[in-house]
Each structure stands twice: as structure tokens, then as C-alpha cells.
Chain length 885, copies 2
């Protein structure tokens, strides 16, 4: 006995994927569990490989096996291949192990010829239907099997419609279709120099060969190259008997989900059409009925369908998306697959199915994609509404906002004080605009990238922002925003979606974020599983409270620069920066100290009993000064007008100072701990404020856990000096307050040099927190502001880079440096606490990497804490932990 | 028998450094080879350690040994310790294994007391001399041994001088000095509650104890901490008999070099004084005579001295700097050490001594410090002239220049065309100023760092430049430069020294660079020794020729951006950048191609038979556009005046384009191969120009070896794509010209990501060239322009960093990444060619590192090629090569 090359659907199952291909194995599985699948068989991938070995020849044994399977099909269906009364018709489809859109399309209605078409007409009771099927078959078969140009048939069809004056195919009657068939057959015999094959068996064999051949067509080969799939596997061929839902009122077709894919409610969800084919549902020529209505038209079939749905859900342990056809009262399932669903329904379904005993908790966790959760965590535009954006920008801070257009921070503040919702629109924002950002619902800028001032501040506040939208032109003098030719004025309503960077005219329907019961439940299950800690990046007491509410186990990054930018403090900060001597500077710092202390007191209070990592001042000081270009314009005008010598002198003096602090590459400039080294009094003030705040709460009997973080360390001496300074401040406060505060001193690891010398740096650190935003910038040599939305876009389109490295941690480059730092750091100090506080801390793939290399925690925006909790659980389920204690 | 703790000079030698300390071993060595050294002995470091173990007590055996040595000294000198007729006087000095300025000073004239001073008076024939010696001895001994405050003696001396109305010590006669001695002795007995020790032996023992104790004084302890010297070694004590050159006309003192330390000529070089002490030479009260005159005054002694000089040179195999004293016709050598010398003399002496058979070639090479050579390779200010700079800036490009002050490039070009030498002074330079830079002798700017436009262009041209001099104020309208209150106008002569950043008013005396016969010889010897290749960074045919003349074995970096900046090309380059579509861009590129081709043809011609590494365009395109601030001022004025709507419109349009190309961090922006990825037609044009140029010369029968270098690669795909593009251009030119050019394609490794993924990148590279300038910037997160002269200065002053990492390669950080890249790159491709083309390629310490990690070559400025050749030889002599083939 030879090898078996052809398998009836009833002979296979889901595990035979390699032999039968994905589609064949799925059809076999459905058949196996007793579902009413139209019968058929699969010619195996092994047959394909043998066919290719035999120089693309079908050998006798394969032919015989195929005929045997066909005979079996005839018996099962009671129809006969080539029968002129009740002909068996089949579909032929390719199906490889991996889904591969590069291969042959489907051939439907195979088995039709000049004679069998009459049988189909008789059986269906419709000549028109039968001839239309035949016409379509000739066209499909000729295109994909005989390689006759598709265009020739289209043209013939168009000409006929034109000559008859009809617009749609449906306007063609049986006679017209017969004439078209004649024309089609003529095209084929002219182009192929042979008549169209009338023998159904020959049609089938030719189709099988065409599928086998398609394995090596150019599209398929390129697809495999791109997706790194092996070339030797070959494809299977699925031959399945056709069923028709358009054979009368006891026939029909439909699509249904076993649960509501939008909100997850346990109910059948879908639609169906009586006396119709699948294409009719898609074409939209008739309005389908809700699936529940089926109970009225064909109650028995409906009852059977409901039972099958439950069976399928239980079998596949997931919500199913089912295509079905009823042919003369008999229900057939054509396809079932796991249903696509919204984040809300994914969560509800996973939790409900666990409660119903279908899933384990681990299954439930695996079933929800962490990145999808983000949808649920911002006020967002109703996804069911279709909208046309008027402009696009960068998705700088997620969430949606609507409001009246305003162009200045002062206007924003004034109107917002009157209870009016506003969207602040600026070319770009500066520290002077901070009160406007606070007051606005959202921010839209025409310049600046993902780390522009507007973007960073908005993300810090969890406020929607679209930045760098080059589609809009802003005229601050005229107070207008122009998009294409449309002009928007102050007070016009606009909406923005910071999740996708879109801008809309008018209001849009919104949905509020919610942490439903099922959502909380799922996250609790995640907490039971995960080993990786989750903290939040939070700069304000409000953010801190929100973080806690979302389940953060502490603050992993509290940036102090935004505290410097509030309107009442900026003048003091500027005085500090522009101070002529140490004394003047100290005076300004003395004013800032109690303000900072208040900030920290409130944050500590919100995070009682949990650690709070506070990063000392990081940005270059010129960020707090007036804009150089504005000053230049002012001075030019003052000079030209010559009417205010005093103001000119003052501005010139200021310009000189702004210039002397101006930097060519501020990202690589005088910032981070370099500020602390050159001007230690700033860091000293901040450290004092931290410990004074901690002492205040300690006196109230509260436990606070400050972790002081020194940014941008590249050399161990930097950290050594700054650590000494912090310890000094701590000792001073201890002496003064009598309170003994437990605290840690550590550093951001955000420079390549810090990574490769982490063994030396670790000697002075209680913890490392990887600042992967800056580390990505320096490792790649990418300025995020200059790259994103500009050349990086081109890089992603051209696939020079697989992903945006600012969104997904680059494991080969940045990740390799992080790994080096982890190994070297723990080599010096095994108890070193390791975390990550870059934006990657909220990205599931990056979280997985953090888990794998043994970090203790990730820290991310409060709004991504739930995402991180689930992603950390996924990481645990998918990998055993390394290097964790 | 106990251990020996005290060694006569005649018992030791140079190898006994650990036991006798550096000074003791040197005195012993001189004694051993028969030099007339005043006799003495050394109390060993072992004695010091034993003393410290015994709780700082002198034990009997040590005391006895010291007395024995003293007796020996008395015999040798014929004088007696404490003798009132002809007393033996000694000096006492500390002397540890490592030179340590933190320890005890010298005590001279020990052995004097109220009685022996009379003997000294008799022997010297001068009461005044004897009392002055005694006075000095009391003061020195009391200060360093008895710890009586120095100030008390100074005050007593001053009071006496005041009461006598004399100004200088020399105005005090013997009587006055006797009175001072009485006062001094009173001070001592008051402060120490004991009379000044009159017993010479007690004086000696107390001094020895003081030297031992000084090992642990605070200054010494701190000094050892800073220099990481061990604490347990202890110090030796040197006791040496005093000689006096001021005992009559048959006595004298002098200092001499065995060769001319300024130009290296083989001749005695120095001066002497009859009847004088060492202090008299230093004090400058009498004018010394040239050493050759000694032959007239004391021919026998002179003859002996000349012989001793030759002996010393032969013994130490180096030029000697000798201090000597003649006491009553007897020559004594007090000190000999290797003489400090200029670079010119160092080279000449090393080569001459080799020719004289004193040194081997390897010795000669070791004898010359490569960094010193830089002095010889630029036109420089005569080092013998003392000058007062009026201002300081950054030493942006070495060499000196004088010329008339001009403020615009056009003026510079016009005057220079008339044969006038000019120095171009600008706040900063832009591409528009390039013709002025070409025309000027040197450039001075008030803004910008070491990588500012002016600095980079000037270094590229080997032209002196001082940049970022904040001491000068430039008023372009008034055409004045102001320093403090002094105003300089157009036409005033100024001079600059780009090697130290100094600016002078008026002309200064200059010296031209020269490659003397000895210099060439030394470098040939270096070439025989070294394994590391030396290439040059050269952008022009002139530079290429100079590089070849200085011995470069090829060009390691030919930057193409300066070719874009010349005045005739800039408009075409700007048209290319601002092109509205592909076609317009291609038109501009078609104009640029023949220009680039000419550039390359001439460079290839100059470097016939040698490899030329050409880097494709690297800087961001906005560097070629007009300055944003200038445009902003123009537009503000045009708007205010409202008289030229057309120009306003044009400038506004231009500003828009300049803004759209403007970058926040251009260093990390759209540059390097990112240009090639996004706008491949630019790189394609450059590659075509390279191969067309090569084909032209190949047709002439010349051998050219182009190496195309892709800058700023961070991901292997970048190099893969750009390599394909270069191969495509090569194939086109081959098809068109019929010439088969051998070439390489490689990449700069200048990003941390490139280092850690070098294994992947190497798959597409024939060579790596480490761009350590940018690699240092990204590894440290330092923008060189913003760091140097600003916070980096503070870092170096505070010793946060041991060296400027842009001058000396940071081995721990940057070096560790380079090493990783070498290992990973060679792991993938063992034959990978490795070089370095950052400025470190000309720094000796960095060259040593390059040698150690097995690079094939370094590439540096043409003017540093000789430095690199010698440094590479040093590296070879000091280390065995690793990983070299």
C-alpha cells in the first residue's frame, strides 16, 4: 500500500495542521466534533511536496485517491459529479500550514459545464441563478487556473451591460447571461488555444495543480522571504461540496457571534438573510435581519444553531464568529473562528468564561491582550461612530477632548474659570503656557514632536494632546487656525484624539474610562501571577492618587521640573537662574524650598507606606527662560522704532543671558546631574525639601519611603558626589527635626556609558532606574523630537527598523546595554534594586523583556498601570523568571 | 649581627631605590661611577619603617650606625662634626621611593652652633658669611624640626632691618646678624621651653626623627591618597656634607646642560659664577658668565667638568642638567638629572646619540614624547618671547596667525586678493563665510565651541582658529571689536594662537614648522618598529599631498561636506535641498556630480597607489541653509517697514523651509546615512562621482583604491541598503567606462548601538572606522559644542572626569564599546579592516589603546601624522600586539 495523500474531512483533526494545512485541519476538526460542515476532502501538503519533486506532474496514485474521495463525496451528498440532473459542485481552496495570502484564490462552483448548468437550473428552480453561477465559475477558473487575463472577462461583461443599457449585474437576465457565457467560452478558447474544459474531473485536477503551483508563485515566495517562513512545506488543497442559501424561503445565510463582541454580554449577536447567498449580505442590496428573528422564520434551525454555538464556544473556549448557510432547511457551518472583540468585551468575556468554568484564571489572563486595555483607560471617542478628521498630528498624549478654540494660555484660563471647556491651540508651548495647559481640556500644536514641551507636560497631566500637526496653520495675530481653506476662529468647537493624532471640527461623542468589576477582577488575578512590580510615573498628588487607584505599588518616577514651571514659581526660578552670584541664587532657592516641600508633602501623603522615587532637577536651565526667537523679534522692533531705550537695554541684557545658556544640542547639554555638579545648591535645596517633607509626615506618625534619584549619571564620580550631597541634607534635617527617615539614593541609568560602567556606578547606588527614553536617544543617536514624525516615519515605512524604538524597547541595541548594566550592577551589589521608568515601562513587549532580564519593577504613566499589571502577568506565564529573588 | 640600616653613598647604587629612596639611590649611583659628589650617607626606608613600628623611637643600634657613618664622613672630608676650627657641616633631606613633595623640606648647614660658627668664619674668611649661615640654619631647623612658627623669625628679621634702615638681607653686616641670631635663639627657647640644641649629633638625630615623622604628616598622607601610593613604604634620610662655592676666587657655582636644550646642538650650555653660592645665581643679583668662560678662570676644573659631562651623558644615556660647586679648586657635583628640552632638541639629541652609538634606535624612539612633536608641526609663536594675551578663547585649531582685523568674509577675500594678511573676526561663521576663511590667515570667533563651524572648517584646512572667546565683544554694525575698554577697528593688527586659545594685539614673532633631517630619520625608525598603520584625515588635494609628505599611508577620512560648502556650489546645494520634487532635486544633483567628480579625481591623483576612505555626506542639510535668526530679524524689519512685499513673501517662504528643516538636537537628527535612506539620490550622486573619478584615473593607468564609507550607521539594515546603492553605482560606472575598479564599502562606527550590534553590521562591511568624536558624544551624552569650555571645564577642574574625553579616549566607557565592536565585528568577519578616524587618532594615549585592541590603523589630521607614527611605535615598544595579523 502506498502513502495516503488525500484525507476526507472526517479522517482528520486539529492536530494534523502540518499535513492538512490550517484550513484543512480546521474543517476536519469541525467535522470531527459533529458540526454540520459541507463534506469534502483535503489533498495533503505531502502530496504537494511530492508533486513538486515529480516536476509538477500529477501521478496516477494521487489521481486515483482523489477520484475515490470524490466518490465518497457523491455518496455523502447524494449528488453526482457531472450529473446533468443534480450535479455535485465543489469549491477548491489552497491552505498551507501558516496563513499565506500570497497563494491561489478560491475557485467556487467547480463541476459546472454546459450540461450540469441545466441540472443546477432545475434543482434551484432558477435559470438565471444557474447561468450566473456558471458565468462566475468560468471567469474564476480561467483567471486562477488557466491564467487568462481577468480584464478580458470584465470588458466583455461591461460591453454586454452597455449594449443592454443596464447598470448592475442583477439587471442581466438568463438570456443575457447565456450570451455572456458564450462570449467567455470564446475568449478562453482564443487565449488558451483549447476549448474550456467541460470534464468536471479535468477541472478538478487542473485546479489542484494550480494550487500546488501557486506555492512557488512570486507573491508567495516574497511573502515567505519577508516573514521568514520555510520554502519546503508546500500547501494542501481543500475540496468541499457547495451549498446554496438562495434556493428558496427555506434557505438562507448569516453571520453571528456567540457573545456580544462590543460589550461582552452573553447573547447571540449577528444577522441573517432568507433566500440569499453570502455575497448578498456583503453587497448590502438587502437589509439583513437580527439573528434573533431567525427564530420566527425557521425555529428548528434556530434552535439547532443556538445549541451549536454553545458547543463551539465550549470546544474552542472562546467567543466564536460563525458563518452559516441554510440550504432547504438544512444548517451548514462554513466557518468558525475566534471572534474579534473590543477591549471591554475581551475583559468581560474572559472573566465570565472563567466564572462559567470554561476557562482557568491563567487562560483568562492570556485571553486579554494588554495593549488593548489602553482603550479603556482614557476618555475616548465612541468607536462606533465614523468620523472624518480635518487634520492629523502626532499622538502625543492619549485620550480625547472637545472644546472651544483658544490661542493663549490666559484666554484658556479665563474661559475655563467661567466653566467653558477649551482646547488650547499653539504653534508650540513654553513654560509660560503652563496655566493654560492646566485649564484646557486638551492641547493641539502645529510644531514639536513627542517630547516637545506640550507633549511631555500633557502626558504628565494625563491630558490629551496632538502635537506637531503640520496640516494646520496658526495665525496668532489674526487669532485664526486654517486647515486647507477652512478658517477656524476663537470660540469654534474642535475635538482632538490624542491616541491617534486626529483633529475634528465640532464635538464628537465620547466614552468615559471605566474600571468595571470584571476589569478589577482580571487585574487581581494578574497580581496573583506576576512577579514584576508595577509603579507609576507621577508628578502631582492627583496623579499619585490616580496611580494608587489603578493599583500602582509606588511611584517609580516623580519629576520635579514641572513643579518649577507653574506660573507663580517661574519668576523665582528665573531669578535663581539669572542670579549674578551665589548669594542671589541662594535667596531665590530659599524661596523655592518651602514650595517644593509642600509638593513633596502632598505626594508623600498620597503614597503613604509606598516608596516614592523623586528625580532631582533634570532639564537644562534655559528651558525656564523666555524664548530666544521672541526676544530677538522684540529687540529688532525696539531698535527699529527707537522709542524705548530702557526696555531695549533690558531685553538686550536678557537676550545675552539667554544666549549664554542657549545650547546647540540641549538633549546632550548642561542638564541632569551636571546641574547638580556645577550648581550643587539647587540639588541641595531639593534634597532638603524632600527630607523636610518626609519629617513633617513622620511627625504625624505616617510612614514615607523617599528614594532620591540622580539623573543622567555617566561616571561614577558624579553619583559619588551627588550621593554625598543628599546624605548631607538628610543629616541636616535629621539633626533639626529629630526624625529618622529611612531612604534610598540611586540613579537613572540612561546613558550608554552608565551601562558599560554600571559595576563602578553600583558602588554608590541603592537602586538603578533605567531611563530608556534617553537611553534610546543616545544609543541610536536619535533625537526623539527630530526623529518621530520625520525620518523615523520613513524608517518604519521602509522597514529599516522593525518598530519605533521609543514605543517598543529595542532589545538588540538598547536592551543589550540594559542587560549589561543589570549584570554589572548586580555583580557589584547583588541586592541592587532595578526598575525602568522610561515610557517603555507601559509597553507589553518591553515589560516582557524587563521580566526576562530580572528587573524588580516597571514604572509607567498612571493610566497604563493596569496594562502593565496584565503584561507583567503575561510575561510570568510565558517565561520563567531569571535573576529574581 | 643586626640588619644594616645606614648606607654610605659609596655602598649603594641606582638599583637600591626601594631601600635608599630615589634621591639616596641617585647620590649613591653618582658616587659609584666616580663622580665628585660631596660624601654622605643614607638612613634607609627600612629604618623608617622600624622607627614607626617602635612608636617613633630611635633605637640604640640605629644611633650607633649613624655615628659610625658620621665618623666615616669625617675621615673622608677631613673635617670634624662640632669642630670649632674646621667643622663638618651637613645637609639633611628626605627621600622616598616615589617623589613626594608632601614631606619634610631640606635642612642645610646642620652642625653649626655658637662655637662651630667661629670655625666656619675662619675657614671661609668671612664672619658675615658664617653668621648668615648660622642664622639660616637656626631658622630652617626650628621651622622643620622644632615646629616653631616660621613667621616669628621673619618678623624678627624684618624688625631688625627696619631699625637699621636697610632694605635687603645683604645690607645686614656681621654684627647685625649676630644680634639676629641672639634674638632667634631667644625665640626658640621661649617657644620650646628648651635652649636651641647646640650638640651637632643631637641636631642630626632630631632631624632624622623629623624626616621619619614627616612620612605621616597630613600633606604627605593626602598626597599619597590622591596619587594612590602605598602608605607602608616609609622614607629614607640623606645626610650629605656641605660644600661652599663662596670661599674665594678659586670657588664658584654653576648650572649646565651637556647639550643645547633648545636646539639639541652638541655643546656645553649653561652659566657659572665665581665666588658664589647657588642662591646667588637664582637671586639674579650678579650676572653669571657663559659656561665656556670657565675655561679662562679655572682651566683645570673646566677640563675636569667637560670630561664629567661626557661621562654622565654616557652613563645616563641622555642629556644631563648638572648643578655643580667648586670649593677652593675642587669640583663637586650636587645634582645631575635628565635635562628638560624642546621638541626640536629632543629629536636631534635622540638621533645624534644613536648615531654616536650611545642609544639604540628603540631607545631613541622612547626618548621622544610624541605629544611634544605637535610643537614642530605648526607655524607657531616663538616660545622664547614672553607675551601678554589680551583675551582667551578655545584652542580650536592649532597654529598661530597675525593679520589685519576684518569682520566680513568679503572683506577678507578682497584684502587677501590685494596681498594683505588678515584675521577674520566673527561672532560665529556659517557656510556663507567659507571664502573668507579660505582667504584669512586665521579665524577668531566670540561664540561656538570646538566643533563649531569655524573650528571644524579651520581644522580641516589646518588654519589657526580661536573660537568662543567670550572676552571679546564684536559690533558688526560699528565694525569694532572691544576687549575690556580697548576698541579695535578694521585694519588693526591682531595675532592669535590656536594652540592655546590666546589673542594678542599687534604682530608677534613666529617660527615656521620644519621636518628636519633628524626628524625624518626618527620617524623612519618609528615606521620600522610600529605595526599600527597611520593614515590622514584630508578633504582636499592640498591636504592629501601634505598628508603624504608627512608619511600617511592613505586617507582614513575624506569628508565630503566641505566640498558642498564652497561659495560656487552652495546655491546649487541649497537648490537641491529646497527642491519641490524629485525632478528638481535630480537637476541640482546633476550639476553637483561633475564638481564632486573633480574633487575626487584630484584627491585620488594625490594619493595614487594608496587607499582613500571617502565618507558620504554626513551633516544635517539645514547646515547648508541661511541662518534662522538672521531671517527672522530680516522678516521682522520687512514687516515693520512694509515697503517690500515681494521680498517679505520670499523670505517668509524661505523661513518656513528653514524652520521645517530646523532641529532641536541636530547632532542626533536627520544626518549621516539617514540622509541616504530618506534621499538616496544624494548618496547615489556621490557614489557615481567617486567611481567616475576612479575610472578616469584608471584609464590613465593609475591605481586608485577607493573605500566608500557610510556614516552614522546604527542598524545593520541601514548599511545593507546603502551598500546596495553603492554597488549599483559602481556597476553603472563599470558598464559605462569599462574600467574595473577595486573598492571597499564600510561604515563609521560612531553610535553605541553600532558597537553592541557590530556582529550584525559586520556582515555588510569590508571595514569599520571608529568615529570616536561622535561615539564619545553619544556614549557620555555630551554635546561637544555645549560641553567644552562650559560644564566640561568644571568637570575637569573638580576632577569629576580625569581627562577631557574628546582629547583622550575614555577607555572605560567609550573604549569598552569600541572593544566590544572589535570583538563582535571580527567574530563575524575575521578579515574586517579596523581603523579610527576621530580626533583621538592623533592622541598618543588613544593610539596606544588602538594598538592594544588590535586596530589596523589610526587616521588623524595631516599635521599629526608624525605624532601618530611615533606614538604607534611607542605603543609597539610598550605592548605586544593583540589580535593583529
Amino acid at each position: 500500500m502506498g502513502k495516503q495523500y488525500v484525507y476526507l474531512f472526517s479522517e482528520g483533526n486539529a492536530d494534523m495542521r502540518e499535513l492538512l494545512g490550517g484550513k484543512g485541519a480546521n474543517l476536519a476538526e469541525m467535522t470531527k466534533i459533529g458540526l454540520p460542515v459541507p463534506p469534502g476532502f483535503t489533498v495533503s501538503t505531502e502530496a504537494c511536496r511530492e508533486y513538486l519533486r515529480r516536476d509538477q506532474q500529477i501521478w496516477d496514485e494521487l489521481r486515483d485517491e482523489t477520484i475515490d474521495a470524490l466518490r465518497n463525496l457523491e455518496e455523502t451528498t447524494g449528488k453526482k459529479f457531472g450529473d446533468r440532473k443534480n450535479p455535485l459542485l465543489v469549491s477548491v481552496r489552497s491552505g498551507s500550514v501558516f496563513s499565506m495570502p500570497g497563494m491561489m484564490d478560491t475557485v467556487l462552483n467547480l463541476g459546472l459545464n454546459d450540461e450540469t448548468v441545466q441540472g443546477l437550473a432545475a434543482a434551484s428552480g432558477s435559470d438565471r441563478f444557474a447561468f450566473d453561477c456558471y458565468r462566475r465559475f468560468i471567469q474564476m477558473f480561467s483567471d486562477v487556473v488557466l491564467k487568462v487575463d481577468h480584464y478580458l472577462f470584465d470588458r466583455a461583461l461591461e460591453e454586454k451591460k452597455k449594449s443592454l443599457g443596464v447598470k448592475d449585474d442583477t439587471g442581466l437576465d438568463a438570456t443575457a447571461l447565456q450570451e455572456i457565457i458564450e462570449k467567455y467560452l470564446k475568449i478562453v478558447s482564443e487565449k488558451t488555444k483549447e476549448p474550456f474544459p467541460q470534464d468536471p474531473l479535468e477541472q478538478l485536477i487542473l485546479s489542484i495543480r494550480a494550487v500546488f503551483d501557486s506555492w512557488n508563485n512570486q507573491r508567495a515566495v516574497v511573502y515567505r522571504q519577508i516573514h521568514k517562513l520555510p520554502d519546503h512545506l508546500g500547501t494542501a488543497v481543500n475540496v468541499q461540496s457547495m451549498v446554496f442559501g438562495n434556493l428558496g424561503d427555506d434557505s438562507g445565510t448569516g453571520v453571528a457571534f456567540t457573545r456580544n463582541p462590543s460589550d461582552g454580554t452573553k447573547e447571540l449577536y449577528g444577522e441573517f438573510l432568507i433566500n440569499a447567498q453570502g455575497e448578498d449580505v456583503v453587497a448590502g442590496t438587502r437589509t439583513p435581519l437580527p439573528i434573533a428573528k431567525m427564530n420566527e422564520y425557521m425555529p428548528d434551525v434556530y434552535k439547532q444553531f443556538v445549541e451549536l454555538c454553545e458547543l463551539l464556544e465550549n470546544h474552542y473556549q472562546d467567543i466564536q464568529d460563525i458563518e452559516f448557510t441554510v440550504e432547504r432547511g438544512t444548517l451548514y457551518l462554513l466557518q468558525t473562528r475566534n471572534g474579534k472583540r473590543t477591549a471591554a468585551s475581551a475583559v468581560k468575556i474572559a472573566v465570565n468564561m472563567t466564572e462559567e468554568g470554561i476557562l482557568t484564571r491563567e487562560d483568562a489572563l492570556r485571553r486579554v491582550d494588554p495593549s488593548q486595555l489602553d482603550q479603556l483607560l482614557h476618555r475616548r471617542i465612541d468607536p462606533d461612530v465614523k468620523l472624518d478628521p480635518i487634520a492629523k498630528g502626532l499622538p502625543a498624549s492619549p485620550g480625547a477632548a472637545s472644546g472651544q478654540l483658544v490661542f493663549t494660555a490666559d484666554e484658556a484660563e479665563r474661559l475655563s474659570g467661567d466653566g467653558v471647556k477649551v482646547v488650547l491651540v499653539r504653534p508650540e508651548t513654553t513654560p509660560d503656557d503652563i496655566h493654560g495647559i492646566v485649564a484646557a481640556q486638551g492641547i493641539l500644536t502645529s510644531r514639536g514632536g513627542m517630547t516637545s514641551h506640550a507633549a511631555v507636560v500633557a502626558r504628565g497631566m494625563g491630558k490629551p494632546c496632538v502635537s506637531g500637526s503640520e496640516d494646520i496653520r496658526i495665525d496668532l495675530n489674526a487669532k485664526t487656525m486654517t486647515v486647507d481653506d477652512k478658517v477656524f476662529n476663537v470660540g469654534d468647537i474642535i475635538s482632538i484624539d490624542g491616541s491617534n493624532g486626529e483633529v475634528y471640527a465640532g464635538t464628537v461623542p465620547m466614552i468615559d474610562p471605566e474600571l468595571s468589576g470584571e476589569f478589577s477582577m482580571l487585574l487581581e488575578w494578574a497580581d496573583e501571577v506576576r512577579q514584576l512590580g508595577v509603579r507609576a510615573n507621577a508628578d502631582t498628588p492627583e496623579d499619585a492618587r490616580k496611580a494608587r487607584e489603578f493599583g500602582a505599588a509606588g511611584i517609580g518616577l516623580c519629576r520635579t521640573e514641572h513643579m518649577f514651571m507653574s506660573q507663580d514659581r517661574l519668576p523665582v526660578v528665573q531669578a535663581m537662574i539669572l542670579a549674578k552670584d551665589h548669594e542671589e541664587r541662594q535667596q531665590a532657592l530659599d524661596k523655592l524650598l518651602p514650595m517644593q516641600q509642600d509638593d513633596f508633602t502632598e505626594i508623600f501623603r498620597a503614597m503613604e507606606d509606598l516608596p516614592v522615587t523623586i528625580r532631582l532637577l533634570d532639564p537644562p536651565l534655559h528651558e525656564f527662560l523666555p524664548n530666544l526667537e521672541d526676544l530677538l523679534v522684540d529687540i529688532t522692533l525696539l531698535r527699529e522704532r527707537g522709542n524705548d531705550a530702557k526696555e531695549l537695554r533690558q531685553k538686550e541684557e536678557l537676550l545675552k543671558q539667554v544666549r549664554s545658556l542657549h545650547e546647540f544640542n540641549p538633549m546632550l547639554g548642561h542638564r541632569g546631574c551636571r546641574l547638580g555638579i556645577v550648581t550643587p545648591e539647587i540639588y541641595k535645596m531639593q534634597a532638603l525639601a524632600i527630607f523636610k517633607a518626609a519629617a513633617t509626615l513622620a511627625k504625624e506618625g505616617k510612614t514615607v519611603i523617599p528614594e532620591v534619584m540622580i539623573p543622567l549619571v555617566g561616571h561614577e564620580t558624579e553619583l559619588k558626589l551627588m550621593r554625598e550631597l543628599v546624605l548631607e541634607a538628610a543629616a541636616e534635617v535629621k539633626a533639626e527635626s529629630g526624625q529618622n527617615i529611612e531612604f534610598k539614593v540611586g540613579t537613572m541609568i540612561e546613558l550608554p556609558r552608565a551601562c558599560v560602567t554600571a559595576d563602578e556606578i553600583a558602588a554608590h547606588a541603592d537602586f538603578f532606574s533605567f531611563g530608556t527614553n534617553d537611553l534610546t536617544q543616545t544609543t541610536f543617536g536619535f533625537s526623539r523630537d527630530d526623529a518621530e514624525g520625520k525620518f523615523l516615519l520613513e524608517y518604519l515605512q521602509q522597514k529599516v527598523l522593525p518598530e519605533n524604538p521609543f514605543a517598543v524597547l529595542d532589545r538588540d541595541g538598547v536592551g543589550s546595554l540594559v542587560k549589561t548594566a543589570v549584570e554589572k550592577g548586580r555583580g557589584t551589589k547583588p541586592e541592587l534594586k532595578l526598575g525602568i521608568c522610561g515610557e517603555h515601562g507601559g509597553d507589553p513587549s518591553s515589560i516582557e523583556f524587563c521580566h526576562q532580564i530580572g528587573l524588580n519593577y516597571v514604572s509607567c504613566s498612571p493610566y497604563r498601570v493596569p496594562v502593565a499589571r496584565l503584561a507583567a502577568a503575561h510575561a510570568q506565564l510565558n517565561h520563567t523568571s531569571q535573576g529574581k529573588d
